[in-house]
């Protein structure tokens, strides 16, 4: 068989496998964990099935990282069991994709060491394949996102620059935009607001040209936050409003609430306390309605900061009491409860700065669950 014939045969086979997988995967997605404990069905041992499961794992990421992990584990097992009639290059390519799907699920659940271990396996699968430079860049991007979340920003930036170059050479503009988005977020985390804003600005025209509304909204949202931290309130609110209108178009209530929250925080930073109090109250109510008590609590701490700044101590204390109760009922992190209890008990004497420090601690706690709470110095 000639190479062209082999290629055409494989393309036909893949089409048929994708059609079959499209029928099987919805059943698996209803209860993926069950299928981890049943023998693998022979008809599932196809490349099309691995692709479809990786795609389903991606879709499930936001809804349920656990479900996404189980789907990715199934995809990985199938990818590793693919028969040798597939070309080796394609087998290792989809094996790497499946391990990456597993890594993503761990990352979304804040299990960063697990995410890195899964990426190590993915990297090993394709390290020796000259033709898979684009795949290696995709894995490097995934690793950079994980490292950024672990505050290993220098390593993340190094990987991002390399990946961006490969994607740019392949004219894969969508991935270039993803790199720029993560570069901006990394600079933002290290306080380099100007570089962060430049990176986010690069994303917007590309995402617009690609009609990629999610990325465009994410870029505006991050741009707004970076501008707020740089003290540029007008630019911040403009960008955040753009993000909000896209999230409305996409019908994403959670993201709309989060963007309103960012607008409230920007107003707080600019000492527009009355506007901030109005906006943050609405955001908190919306987050509670959406069943997000942890984020509602964090928005509440921002609201307490605004209330303390206007000397509304009774309202601040009442809110602190309510948030402690909500956290307790939702069985959220004990250390967070400790910090919030401190805020409740000191509400009569605390400053807005105290609330700000507790808000900063709670935000760090989401990435570092073992971080100890140290009471802010009240005499400062």
């Amino acid at each position: 068989m000639s190479r062209l014939e082999e290629f055409a045969r494989l393309a036909r086979q893949l089409e048929a496998e994708r059609r079959d997988a499209a029928k099987a995967v919805p059943l698996i997605v209803t209860d993926p964990e069950r299928f981890l404990d049943e023998p693998l069905r022979r008809e599932w041992l196809t490349l099309g099935m691995v692709e479809a499961l990786c795609s389903a794992a991606r879709t499930e990421l936001v809804r349920s990282p656990e479900r996404s992990l189980h789907i990715a584990q199934l995809a990985t097992t199938i990818a590793e069991a693919l028969v040798e009639s597939y070309p080796r290059l394609i087998r290792v390519q989809v094996q790497a994709q499946a391990w990456k799907a597993m890594s993503n699920a761990h990352r979304l659940a804040s299990r960063h060491p697990a995410a890195l271990l899964a990426l190590d396996v993915a990297d090993r699968r394709i390290a020796d394949e000259p033709a898979l430079a684009h795949d290696r860049a995709t894995l490097a991007l995934a690793r950079a996102i994980t490292l950024r979340e672990m505050d290993r920003t220098a390593e993340a930036l190094l990987l991002l620059e390399g990946s961006r170059e490969v994607f740019r050479n392949h004219r894969d503009l969508r991935q270039v935009a993803q790199c720029d988005l993560v570069i901006g977020m990394t600079h933002h985390r290290t306080g380099r607001f100007a570089e962060a804003r430049q990176a986010f600005m690069r994303v917007i025209p590309v995402a617009r040209a690609e009609d990629d509304l999610h990325t465009m909204a994410a870029a505006y949202n991050n741009l707004g936050r970076a501008a707020a931290d740089a003290g540029d309130l007008n630019a911040s609110v403009d960008a955040l409003q753009q993000a909000r209108s896209i999230f409305r178009e996409l019908e994403m209530p959670t993201e709309i609430a989060r963007t309103n929250w960012s607008i409230g925080v920007a107003q707080l930073s600019a000492a527009r306390f009355d506007s901030a109090i109005g906006m943050l109250s609405e955001v908190r109510a919306e987050l509670l309605k959406l069943g997000m008590p942890e984020e509602a609590g964090l928005a509440g701490v921002d609201l307490i900061e605004a209330l303390l700044a206007t000397n509304a101590r009774a309202a601040a204390r009442d809110l602190a009491v309510t948030i402690v109760e909500e956290f307790r009922n939702a069985r959220l992190n004990e250390r967070a409860l400790q910090a919030l209890s401190y805020l409740r008990e000191t509400a009569d004497v605390a400053t807005a700065e105290t609330a700000h420090q507790i808000g900063t601690y709670l935000r760090r706690l989401t990435n570092e669950p073992a971080l100890l709470f140290v009471a802010p110095d009240r005499n400062r």
């Binding site: 290629f7 795609s55 990985t76 097992t77």
Partner: protein
């Protein structure tokens, strides 16, 4: 739920046409720009097309993607070739000692593979991580998102299951 379906947008005929239209270009780049011999250049170009097959729906500019892919593949190939020592012309070519008893080992290898294939996905994954990837129990626990105690128990249970199946036992 959305499932990746390239069949709706790219038929195998279109893909084959893309292959035919670009294959010589890719081989030409590998040969003329990187000095790779024609046979190896053809293999590289074919591999670039195989990689292209699984991600074609996400590619905007096929020609740019293929050209960039062959550039990267060729660079990688040349870098690798520089690190390879050729065998001496008159040197002996001894057989790989690992295969000295291949004839006797094959039945066992095939039986072990068959036993492994009949395990549940959870067991296949746990045993792969432990015995093929060489991870420790705590690392396996991390990757599976569970405790070390459970991971150790799982690996032990799966090994028992595999041994029973290797010995011709039924499902547990």
């Amino acid at each position: 739920m959305s499932v990746h379906l390239s069949a709706e947008t790219r038929s195998d005929g279109e893909l084959a046409a893309t292959y035919e239209a670009h294959f010589d270009l890719l081989v030409g780049i590998a040969v003329s720009r990187f000095g790779i011999d024609r046979a190896d250049a053809e293999t590289l170009a074919h591999e670039v097309f195989l990689a292209f097959l699984t991600c074609v729906d996400r590619i905007n500019d096929q020609r740019a993607w293929l050209v960039s892919a062959i550039f990267n593949a060729s660079k990688n190939y040349v870098r690798r070739a520089q690190r390879t020592e050729p065998l001496p012309e008159d040197g002996r070519d001894p057989a790989d000692p690992r295969y000295a008893r291949a004839g006797q080992q094959w039945p066992d290898v095939l039986a072990a593979r068959e036993a492994f294939a009949r395990l549940t996905p959870r067991c296949q994954l746990a045993l792969r991580l432990r015995h093929l990837e060489g991870y420790t129990i705590p690392e396996i626990a991390t990757i599976l998102g569970t405790t070390s105690k459970y991971a150790a128990k799982l690996v032990g249970r799966c090994l028992d299951q595999a041994q029973r199946r290797y010995g011709g036992g039924g499902a547990s």
